[in-house]
């Protein structure tokens, strides 16, 4: 069965901006291992001659004409921000 080390799990959690305690880490490592084991069954399927699938549905390209449809919701979106100033969204300093 596939295993997931605590380091791998911490790495994935950091990429997803999740803070996990060591206990949670152990718990999710085990859960993830089960999920991987489930997915691994697919490796046993013979896919010779089958085109790899990129999408769940069979839509082809949906086009939009290059025309303005100015948003009427800019102000509403701004108002939803926890902090703003002069129409800017304010976030904690990114670069020191």
């Amino acid at each position: 069965m596939a295993t997931i080390t605590a380091e791998t799990l911490q790495h994935i959690a950091a990429l997803a901006r999740l803070g996990l305690s060591p206990a949670q880490c152990a718990h999710y490592a085990e859960e993830c291992a089960h999920i991987l084991a489930f997915v691994e069954q697919l490796n046993g399927v013979d896919t010779t001659g089958i085109t790899p699938m990129d999408h769940a549905d069979h839509l082809e390209t949906v086009w939009r004409e290059d025309r303005l449809a100015p948003s009427t919701q800019a102000d509403a979106i701004l108002e939803g921000a926890p902090e703003r100033e002069h129409r800017f969204f304010i976030v904690p300093q990114v670069i020191a």
Partner: protein, 480 residues
Amino acid sequence: MTTAYEAIIGLEVHAQLLTTSKLFCGCSTAFGAPPNSNICPVCTGQPGALPVLNQRAVEFAIRAGLALHCRIAPVSLFARKNYFYPDLPKGYQISQYDQPLCLGGHLDISCDGEAKRITILRIHMEEDAGKSTHDIGQATTSHVDLNRACVPLIEIVSGPDLRSPQEAGQYLRALRAILMYLHICDGNMEEGSLRCDANISIRPKGSTVFGTRTELKNLNSFRFLERALAYEIERQIDVVSAGGTVVQETLLWDEKRGRTLSMRSKEEAHDYRYFPDPDLPPLVVDDAMIGAIRAALPELPEAKMARYTGEFGLSAYDARVLTSEKALATFFEHAVTAHRAPKKIANWITTELLGRLNARGESFESLRITPPQLAGLVALVDEGTISGKMAKQVFDTMYATGEAPQAIIAREGLSQVSDSAALETMIDELLATQSAQVAAYRQGKTNLFGFFVGQIMKKTAGRANPALVNALLRKKLEEE
């Protein structure tokens, strides 16, 4: 650079496409709008909002692909590039990854008079991020403007074929010219419509393996690009010469300090976990669409160069200079339409016009002379109304004021005396008062000819048509 090493450089160029609306929504792409005025649920990543692809953006990307001799993939995929940054509202950027729209092309550049073919590995489509500003207001906050979020870009990735900062500069110039010829990007590096990152490594000359590369960001002018690359090549050579090894890292060019700075990004930052975007079906382009775009491609610099040297008989150098920018080529062609003297007009443009622009550091866009005006000036010389010397004087005024040459000539009384009757009278008077010199000339002192010409020029304040004066004088001196 010491001769023991050579530099290996590849460029990644992001070009903003000149569409009216964004890549996946109907918001405006206009630069300079008030912060966060061109934003909607799609480009700010509101739950449930769905992207719909802008057809013109795809057409523009295909235009670039065809012009750069790429293969256009009949099916390509949009993928999510996942990372967290405040100016990326969805937490991922919609880009293309393992199945881009355009693959395997090339761009021919000229460096020190030699042609060199640079590989284009791929061109893919993606959306731009928003803009973060870190230096206004409090030191503990950053300001985010999402107007630019979701603006369509293409990323053009070159092969590791460039060997010097100068070659990299030539490549970027040639690429910018083509994008502008195609009308798909305004090429404005200051406003960020064209941005450039570089991958760079060094290796001992003769070696065929690549050294460890660094990535240079923030090379947003030709000057920055060439300076940053030159600095980074020296830095890597110093590291290796001192027995060290180059560390793979991302570096920012700091123009003020003239050096590169490590971005010290966390290693997690490069794990983007790409996967196909489930909100966007595969991008399928058929032969009819590609054919229509190919048929509508404008004449590109290479083809123009061939035409200028062939049809117009220009030198390769002049043809290259004139085709280096679309605006310049258009100016030249309009002028030639007005007065069919391509070599003379080319000469005026490459020497007088570009010479002045360069000397004053002015841009071609700020030029006040129009193509018909320049053509008019050349025509006036050809007709003998003014001499070549006067034309330069008139040109100076045209350059400064944007006035038509005819108006300047009329106002300043510059027109050449081409009235042969008037000149003949003048010559007769002159010869009558200079009988000794005339006799000497007739006895074989023919080098006195210049003296007579000089006298007539003096009388007419330099306005006499030199060719006519020569002919008339010779006739008079030799007939008696």
